[in-house]
């Protein structure tokens, strides 16, 4: 169990860094997918099976293709010009991010959290289904509505002007 956690954690951090630093956009997306897939593995390690598979299905299956299509449509996949990768004020951005993570980690380490429950609580598909249909019905419908709205909006925005009519 120990070894598994450290391998996956290393994968996540390396993947995240590479996704941010690599020059070509398509490589960045592939590194992003490595991070998200290893994150899903972490969820499985933590016992949340349903979430792990949902994460793979949504991110590796759909969002990856979405981003890649966006890259192709905006012709970014051509040879990256030599130019600067980061915006001139990249130092400021990284500084703020470093500051934020620093405080977060400091507060986590300082806090005293009682030891957790040894065995992972039951998260079988049946209970999730039960919960979704009873307690969380309103959020479910809301998300359904939101997704359809997002889809229609995305289609209209991406539609070329002349066809918008």
């Amino acid at each position: 169990m120990q070894a598994a956690f450290f391998i996956i954690a290393a994968l996540i951090v390396i993947g995240g860094l590479a996704a941010m630093l690599v020059r070509k956009l398509v490589h960045a997306v592939l590194w992003l997918m490595v991070t998200l897939a290893s994150l899903a593995a972490l969820f499985l390690l933590l016992g949340a099976q349903f979430v792990g598979f949902a994460q793979i299905l949504v991110y590796v299956g759909a969002v990856a293709i979405l981003i890649v299509f966006a890259i192709l449509l905006t012709r970014n996949s051509e040879w990256a010009k030599a130019g600067r990768l980061a915006s001139p004020s990249w130092l400021v951005g990284v500084g703020i991010a470093g500051l934020a993570t620093g405080c977060l980690i400091a507060s986590i380490l300082a806090s005293s959290i009682p030891p957790g429950v040894p065995v992972p609580p039951a998260a079988s598909v049946a209970d999730i289904g039960q919960k979704l249909m009873t307690e969380y019905v309103l959020p479910l419908e809301a998300v359904g509505l939101l997704l359809t709205a997002a889809m229609i909006g995305a289609v209209i925005i991406a539609m070329p002007e002349d066809k918008r009519g």
């Binding site: 990768l85 951005g93 991010a97 986590i108 959020p139 991406a158």
Partner: protein, 103 residues
């Protein structure tokens, strides 16, 4: 047994990387990838807390993550559509050039 803190530190690190990327990169799509990373860092926290401190409402963490994944997918779709529309107007996705509010 991996303590809860390890997961929290990991998610904080991931969040930091996402934030650094989103703030520093010039390309709009890279900013979007940074945001995706930050969202997933948050999901990791939810599942970590669900695993170690289920508390009274056992499945709350899992539910939250499910909904957040759904919304993140919707958000990615709309975000990319925006980028395409902006690209069609500005002919570039370089964020520094997108400073004028006109048009």
């Amino acid at each position: 047994m991996i303590p809860l803190k390890a997961y929290l530190v990991l998610s904080a690190l991931l969040f930091g990387i996402g934030l650094a990327g989103a703030l520093s990169r010039r390309n709009a799509i890279m900013v979007l990838i940074g945001i995706e990373l930050m969202l997933n860092a948050a999901n990791l926290n939810f599942i970590a807390f669900w695993r170690f401190h289920p508390g009274t409402e056992p499945l709350a963490g899992v539910m939250f993550v499910l909904f957040s994944i759904a919304i993140a997918a919707g958000e990615a779709a709309v975000g990319l559509a925006l980028i395409i529309a902006i690209y069609r107007h500005y002919k570039t996705t370089n964020l520094d050039r997108m400073d004028s509010l006109k048009g």
